[in-house]
Amino acid sequence: MKESGNILFSGVGGQGILLASEITVYSLMSAGYDAKKSEVHGMAQRGGSVTAQLRYGKKVYSPLIEPGCVDIQMAFETMEAVRYLPYLHKDSKVIVNTQRILPPSVATGKSEYPEEVLGHLTRKGIAVVEVDAFDLALEVGEVKTANVVMVGALSAFLPVDPALYEEIIRTRIPEKFRDVNLKAFAAGRQASK
C-alpha cells in the first residue's frame, strides 16, 4: 500500500458523494494521515457533474490532484467514470457504481448514452472494479446505503484497518442505521476483492 494517495470521487449532483468521502477521510485520519479534500458548491450542485478530490499522506499541501496523478477514482455513475480520464494514469484503479443517470441531452433524445463506455479505461490497461452498489444495498436491506457500499469497495485499496472504518461508522451514523451501514460496508469491501 502507498503511504500517500490521491482519490477522485465523481458522480452526479445529489448522489451523496460527500458522505462517502467523509467516512473515508475520517478513517484515513484515524490511521494517522494528514488529508485535504476539495469540493465545489453552488451552481455546480444542481444535478451537474460533480467531483470531490481527496489527498492523503504524511503532509498534504495542495488540495487539488494534478492531472495524471489520480490513484483511485470512485465513480458513482458509469459515464462519470470516464469523464476525468486525463486525471488518471495507467496504474490507476477505477471503482464504478454501475448505475446510469441520463444527462439532459440523452433524456431529451438529442444524444445517446455511450455504450461500453468503460472500454475507454480497460483498453488503456486501467483496472476497473464494477460494483452494483444499489443491488448490494438492497440486499443488506436499505437502498440508501449504496454510498457506504462504495466506501467499503474503496477501503480494500487503502492502508487503513477495516476496524477503524467500523469505528467511524459507529460514531458518525445514527444508531438506528448503524447495523445496516456496517453490513453495507462489509458487502462493498467483499465486492471489490
Binding site: 495542495s62 487539488l64 439532459p104
Partner: protein, 602 residues
C-alpha cells in the same frame, strides 16, 4: 487504535473562519449568502453568544458590522467577491472612521468562476480602500488569521479584510480548537463625531490618519510571522500567498519561498532582502499581477504573469509547467461524452415560467440565482444576466431605447431574494421614469442557489426563528406599480394567460410567481404523488420533453419498432416519467394534449 485527537477537527475553510470568529469573541455578524462564502455565516449561527443575520444585501451587512464595531463589539461581515462591490461604498469610508471593536470583512473570491459571473481579484480592494488584507492558504490558517485580523483591527484602528478563495473556503483540512479570546474594548455608546461624521473637514483629517495606520501596518508586516521566509534552494526563489503557496510547495519543494500571509500592505524591506537572497525571483499568484505590480514598483526585478496565467485557478501542474515546461506526466486524452450541465430540479417552479417565456417573442432580462439556468436548453429563455438586481433596470433601459415599439417586447425575471437585494430600487425607477416593462418575481420563499438561506420574505431568521415576512405584492403596489398579478407557475396555461395580459399592458406590471422551492425541508419530507405516463396514449409529440425536467426521459424507437409496438408508423419514440425523481408538480400533465400523463393513483 484511532489516532484522532479530541481537539482535532476536520473542517472546511469556511467552517474554520466561523470557528475563528467565535474564538475571537465576535458579537455581531451580518452578511449576504454567495458562493463560496455562504457557510461562514451558517456555521457561525450555530455558536452561542454571537448575533448572526442574513442582511438583504452586502452593503447593509457591512454597515451593520460597522455599527456594531462603533458600539464596541467585535464585528464580522461576510460576502462573496462581487458582494464587496455592493459593500464598497461603506468600505471605502470605514477605513477613515476606523473602528472601536475589531471589524473584519471576509471576501470569498471565486477564481475560475465555479459559481460566479466574473473572477475579479479582490486584493485590489485592499489597495484601493486602504485597508490591510490577510490571505490564508488553508483552513487551519484561515482560523488563525481571522483571530489575527481582529487584533490588527483594534491595534491599528482600521477594518481588516480576509481574502478567501474557493479552494480555501471549500477545502477541508485538519484544524485545531483554540483558546477563546477577549477584546479589550467594551460595548457602550462612545460619541466621537470628529472620527465618525465624515463631513469633508473631518474626512480630510481622517485621510491623514489612514496613511498613518497603514504606515504602522507596513512596519508590523516587516517582522510579522505571517510573512515568512522559508529557506531553500536560492537559484529560484518564489514570492507567493494564499492557495498559490501550496502549489509552489508541491511543484518546487526545495525552493526558497517568501510566503506573504498579508497581501496588503507589503513588507518592502523583507521582500528586498528575499530578492537579494535568490538568483531568480518568481511571483506566483492567481488572477491579477497584484504582488508583481507592487514589487516591480519597488524597483525589484522579477518574473510573474509572463509565465503564470492571469485567468482561472492555478494548480500544481500549471505552476510547474509554467516554470519548468515538459516535466509533468504524459496525459490520456479526454473522451467526448454527453455533457452534464446543472439543471433546475424536477418540480422546480421556475420551469413553468421559463417554459412559457420560451414560447413568447420577448427579450428576457435575467438575474442571478437558480433561475439563471433558464438560459440552458431546452428552455433557452434568458437573454441577459449581468449582476444582482440588474434584470429590472436593464429591462427599463431597453424599453426606453426601443420606445413605443418595445413596450411589449422586454420582460425581466428576478428571484425573491435578489429582488430584495437590489431589484426594488430598479422597480422604483421603472415606475418613476415610466416604462412599461413587465417584471416577473419568482417567489420560491428561499434563497435557493446558495443552499436554502432564509431571507426577509421567507418568514424566518437565519436561526429558523419566526420573523416578519415581507409582503412582496404590497411592496410593489406601494412603490406605485399599477398592475400586480399572482400566478401558480405549475399551472402552465393560466400562467401563459396572465403573462400575456401583463406584457401587453402599457403601464408597469409585476407578475409574482408563487410556489415553494422543492428543496425546502417541508417539500423534501412530504411524499409527492408522482405523475405517470400512459405508454399506450403517448403519441411521441415531445411537448413534455420540452420542459427539460430531469424526471422525464425520451426513448427513441429503433427502425420498425413503432409499428411492431402498435404505434403510428411515423412515431419516433415515447416519453416516460421516472416516478422516483418526479416531484408531482404536474407541469407536464398540463402540456399533454393526449391525456397520457396523469397523477399516480388517479
Amino acid at each position: 487504535m484511532s489516532k484522532l485527537k479530541a481537539d482535532t477537527l476536520w473542517m472546511s475553510g469556511n467552517e474554520a473562519v466561523a470557528l475563528g470568529a467565535y474564538e475571537a469573541g465576535t458579537k455581531v455578524a451580518s452578511g449576504y449568502p454567495g458562493t463560496p462564502s455562504t457557510e461562514i455565516m451558517e456555521n457561525l449561527s450555530r455558536y452561542e453568544g454571537v448575533h448572526t443575520e442574513w442582511a438583504p444585501n452586502e452593503k447593509v451587512g457591512l454597515e451593520v458590522a460597522i455599527g456594531a464595531s462603533f458600539a464596541g463589539a467585535r464585528a464580522l461581515a461576510t460576502m462573496k467577491h462581487v458582494g464587496v462591490n455592493v459593500a464598497a461604498d461603506p468600505l471605502f469610508t470605514a477605513s477613515y472612521t476606523g473602528v472601536c471593536g475589531g471589524l473584519v470583512l471576509i471576501s470569498a473570491d471565486d477564481p475560475e468562476m465555479h459559481s460566479s459571473q466574473n473572477e475579479q481579484d479582490n486584493r485590489n480592494y485592499a489597495f484601493a480602500a486602504k485597508v490591510p488584507m490577510l490571505e490564508p492558504s488553508e483552513p487551519r490558517e484561515a482560523k488563525e488569521m481571522v483571530k489575527l485580523a481582529y487584533e490588527l483591527s483594534e491595534t491599528l484602528d482600521t477594518p481588516v479584510m480576509v481574502r478567501m478563495t474557493t479552494r480555501v473556503s471549500h477545502v477541508k483540512g485538519v484544524v485545531e480548537k483554540g483558546e477563546l479570546q477577549t477584546s479589550n474594548v467594551t460595548c457602550g455608546i462612545n460619541k466621537d463625531p470628529a472620527k465618525r461624521v465624515m463631513l469633508p473637514a473631518m474626512a480630510r483629517k481622517r485621510r491623514t490618519a489612514v496613511e498613518q495606520h497603514m504606515q504602522k501596518c507596513r512596519e508590523l508586516a516587516e517582522t510579522a510571522a505571517y510573512n515568512r521566509i522559508e529557506k531553500g534552494d536560492t537559484k529560484r526563489g518564489f514570492i507567493t500567498g494564499g492557495v498559490s503557496y501550496l502549489y509552489v510547495k508541491e511543484a518546487f519543494p526545495e525552493a526558497a519561498v517568501l510566503k506573504l500571509g498579508m497581501c496588503w500592505p507589503l513588507p518592502e524591506q523583507k521582500i528586498r532582502a528575499f530578492a537579494e537572497m535568490v538568483d531568480e525571483l518568481i511571483i506566483v499568484e492567481e488572477l491579477d499581477p497584484f504582488l508583481e505590480t507592487h514589487i516591480k514598483a519597488m524597483g525589484i526585478a522579477c518574473k510573474g504573469k509572463d509565465l503564470i496565467p492571469n485567468q482561472g485557478e492555478l494548480n500544481t501542474a500549471i505552476v510547474r509547467e509554467a516554470i519548468a515546461p515538459g516535466t509533468g506526466p504524459q496525459l490520456f486524452e479526454p473522451v467526448e461524452l454527453p455533457t452534464r450541465p446543472p439543471n433546475m430540479c424536477a418540480g422546480c417552479p421556475h420551469r413553468g415560467i421559463f417554459f412559457n417565456l420560451s414560447k413568447m417573442k420577448v427579450f428576457v432580462s435575467g438575474d442571478i440565482g437558480c433561475y439563471t439556468l433558464g438560459f440552458l436548453p431546452p428552455l433557452s429563455a434568458m437573454d441577459s444576466c449581468v449582476c444582482m438586481g440588474a434584470s429590472v433596470s436593464i429591462a427599463h433601459g431597453m424599453a426606453k431605447a426601443l420606445g413605443e415599439d418595445g413596450f411589449d417586447k422586454v420582460v425581466s425575471v428576478i428571484g425573491d431574494s435578489t429582488f430584495i437585494h437590489s431589484g426594488i430600487t430598479g422597480l422604483i425607477n421603472t415606475v418613476y421614469n415610466q416604462s412599461a416593462s413587465t417584471l416577473i418575481i419568482l417567489d420560491n420563499r428561499i434563497t435557493a442557489m446558495t443552499g436554502q438561506q432564509q431571507n426577509p420574505a421567507s418568514g424566518y431568521s437565519i436561526k429558523g426563528e419566526a420573523a416578519h415576512a415581507l409582503d412582496l405584492e404590497a411592496l410593489c403596489r406601494a412603490v406605485g406599480v399599477p398592475h400586480v398579478f399572482k400566478v401558480n407557475p405549475h399551472d402552465i396555461t393560466e400562467t401563459r394567460k396572465v403573462l400575456k395580459e401583463a406584457i401587453a399592458l402599457k403601464e408597469p406590471s409585476v407578475v409574482i410567481s408563487e410556489a415553494p422551492c422543492v428543496l425546502l425541508p417541508e417539500m423534501k419530507t412530504r411524499k409527492p404523488v408522482p405523475y405517470v405516463t400512459d405508454q399506450e396514449k403517448c403519441t411521441g409529440c415531445m411537448s413534455c420533453i420540452q420542459l427539460g425536467c430531469p424526471a422525464i426521459s425520451w426513448t427513441t424507437f429503433q427502425e420498425g419498432e413503432a409499428e411492431k409496438r402498435g404505434y403510428r408508423k411515423k412515431q419516433k419514440g415515447i416519453s416516460q416519467i421516472d416516478e422516483i425523481l418526479c416531484n408531482g408538480c404536474g407541469q407536464c400533465a398540463s402540456l399533454c394534449k393526449f391525456d397520457a400523463i396523469t397523477k399516480g393513483g388517479e
